[in-house]
Amino acid sequence: MVVVELWCILLLLALALVALPASRQGLGGPVVYGGALLVSLAACATGAKALAGGDASALSLPLGLPWLGMHFRIDALAAFFLVVVNLGAAAASLYSIGYDRHESAPLRVRPFFPAFLAAMNLVVVADDAFSFLFSWELMSLASWALVMAHHREEANAHAGLVYLVMASFGTLALLLGFGLLAGPEGAYQFDAMRTAHHAPWLAALVLALALLGAGSKAGIVPLHVWLPLAHPAAPSPVSALMSGVMTKVAIYGLVRIVFDLLGPPDWWPGLVVLALGGITAVMGVLYALMEHDLKRLLAYHTVENIGIIFIGLGLALAFRANRLFEPAALALTAALFHVFNHMVFKSLLFFGAGAVQVETGERDMERLGGLIRPMPVTSFAFLVGCVSISALPPFNGFVSEWLTFQAILLSPELPQWGLRILIPGVGALLALAAALAAACFVKAFGVTFLGRPRSDAAVAASEADRFSRAAMLVFAAICLLAGTLPGFVIDALAPVTQGLVGARMPTQSADPWLSIVPIAASRSSYNGLLVFFFILLSASLAAAAIHRLASRALRRGPAWDCGFPDPSPSTQYSAGSFAQPIRRVFGPVFAAREHVSMPPPLSTAPATIHVTLRDLVWEAIYAPLGHAVAFAADRLNHMQFLTIRRYLSLVFAALVVLLLVLAIWL
């Protein structure tokens, strides 16, 4: 099992090495991405097999620190995440075969793409602190190189800087955490950490550090700032990987540390994680609503979905701390299910955004529109993605959020008042986030694909190439399948929850009509398949009946528009105007300012509206930090320009101080 996986990783690294020579032969794209596709599929199959098999398989290689070696292990959790990672990787590779032809700097992408995949696989199978952090940081490094692929744009260089610093911040936080877990003797093996008993304060500290480390990678507020910078900067398949897959690897890290290594913690960590999740979900979707750059919008939505996943994890923590294992299993299943779902539809959406960017050269929604006609397949797939991410039945996004709600409804069984007070609020935040997400994706799809083209580029657009279309359609199909047959996914997750919280949800696939029943049929149940068929049935029924009994005639005419149709596309509702009501409602979050200047009567000057939004998180935390560093650097910089005499006096001062220390203390 693990051997096969390691061979896959090795093959990916080999691909990274042959990328440049192959490119010199002029077949770099097919070789690298085709190879990556095959290897990822193999690794995905391995993961699925391990998940089905259930038994953990381990292996250690004499690499890294010799007395430690590099340990690898595939248990249920790792297997599940292997499936997630490699499924996304396979789709991204397939997409890249086509995208590579439009890539402006292919040689800066091809070598690092497989390396990035390999690193993510390594993180998942790592079984000791060293190899975990090694591959974790390798993952950051490879993705940083990919972000820097289009390094000639100033913004991308800045994005790369912020990204790498934040990533290393996370790694160092995790490093400190592992340092605590390992103890002064350096017991870096995960087994040792599992068996070791950790003092409560230590567990708390480790948890905080893990939240900082994994959270900064996953993008929880306020550690999310790099996401909307880095994800759009990278080439679209890489954006899909970073947003859809890498953030999931971060979630894996958190689950591995908190659920697996740390042993049973106190109840309040659940509180913290829940609160973070709720805030992250709502903040993320609000930022996304205010965004007009399609890829930045998607990146912010990643923040939102990470929040939703965190809510599930927090619930699971809280339940587990109170030894309510079935509810914990339910919550954890919901979180992991959402991990899978988000991987699928976020990759799908980024593929779509990438196709749009390739065909039109635009990412700004205000200059797009009407793409549903030139790009039918892309727009259809994108629509499926939008419906799924908006948590609308019968697609997969709804199922995981529904499960989360069911878990929330079990929380009155919790004894702690803090949780009792907090959880309903978090539930409200979750519902709010879901509703806002729907609004946001009406905006995203409506402005980008519907209406009339807002620029010549949008007029001249054409359908994406067949590889991209294939990748998108496959994921669209998965969205529908996972939404209509969720029982199988839940059952597949059973070994994971069994291993982590010592319980599992009741077997679903045996239920009549393949519906899912989290606890008991009398309590709640949902059947995506039947629902899907009902809607399909009644829709076609209505259509057939109407066409047969009533009329089927259809005339084309100019738009009615209350009698004042205006040919200019600029009269359409724009993304900004669409978001305006919500901006009014949630204005304080962005310290939004609207400045309207109305010309005086009889003046022909155009009226203008000027909207300013501020990223309060950045202003509150990151800008001050940057200023502090700059200030210190400026102050200390004088040390470079002293005279020799002053340097001598420094030496002298050091000597005198040390002698004084000797004289006084010793």
Partner: protein, 220 residues
């Protein structure tokens, strides 16, 4: 060792510290050089006395080097440099003479305190000498850091180095004292040559190149 011998050694070492203070007190370059000559002379006397007391003949060589080189050659060389380069004759002190003296006092006290912690196991002579030597070293550093003129800084360094030689001589049967003092003389010679080569008039910090090329016969 007889108490008398001990007292003389003590006296000479203390004298060296005293002369260091006198160095600190100077505000004219020529006077400074004269006092430094005195400093070197006292040092050579002290070293010679150590040679006599420990009957270590090689120390006489050290004393000789100190006398010939430091007490005579270097002061003369520096004097000529001052004339050749037209360095003006006052010493600009960073802080007032008085403050410098007070700091010097504090340093001496410090060196005493540090050295008196030394357990009586060590030879008493070594102990006393060490505290004085440390004081001389510190005072030399103080001079280097509180004087602006290159020449006075060089003098400071040389007095510091005298402290080293004093310590080395005080260390019973220390090998290579001669070599060390010789090596240091070379070092000092380098510094002095550097002063001259680079036409360092006022400070250590700026070196004047045109002069250098003229010296090397290259006219740019």
């Amino acid at each position: 060792m007889t108490p008398f011998a001990f007292d003389v050694a003590h006296l000479l070492a203390g004298g060296l510290v005293l002369v260091s203070f006198v160095l600190l007190y100077q505000d004219r370059l020529y006077a400074l050089l004269k006092v430094y000559a005195l400093h070197a002379f006292v040092l050579s006397a002290s070293v010679a006395w150590q040679a006599y007391v420990q009957d270590a003949p090689h120390l006489y060589a050290t004393a000789l080097i100190a006398l010939a080189f430091k007490a005579i050659v270097i002061p003369l060389a520096l004097r000529r440099i001052i004339e050749r380069l037209g360095i003006h004759r006052e010493i600009e002190a960073v802080v007032g003479i008085g403050v410098t003296m007070l700091a010097g006092m504090a340093l001496v006290a410090l060196s005493m305190v540090v050295m008196l912690k030394v357990t009586p196991g060590a030879a008493p002579l070594a102990r006393e000498d060490l505290s004085f030597a440390l004081a001389v070293v510190l005072l030399g550093l103080l001079m280097m850091t509180t004087r602006r003129n290159a020449v006075s800084q060089v003098v400071g360094f040389m007095s510091l180095e005298n402290g080293l030689v004093l310590a080395a001589a005080g260390a019973r049967g220390m090998p290579m004292v001669v070599e060390i003092s010789f090596a240091f003389s070379i070092l000092i010679a380098f510094i002095v040559i550097g002063l001259f080569l680079f036409r360092i008039r006022e400070r250590f910090d700026t070196v004047d190149l045109s002069a250098l090329h003229r010296f090397r016969g290259e006219i740019r």
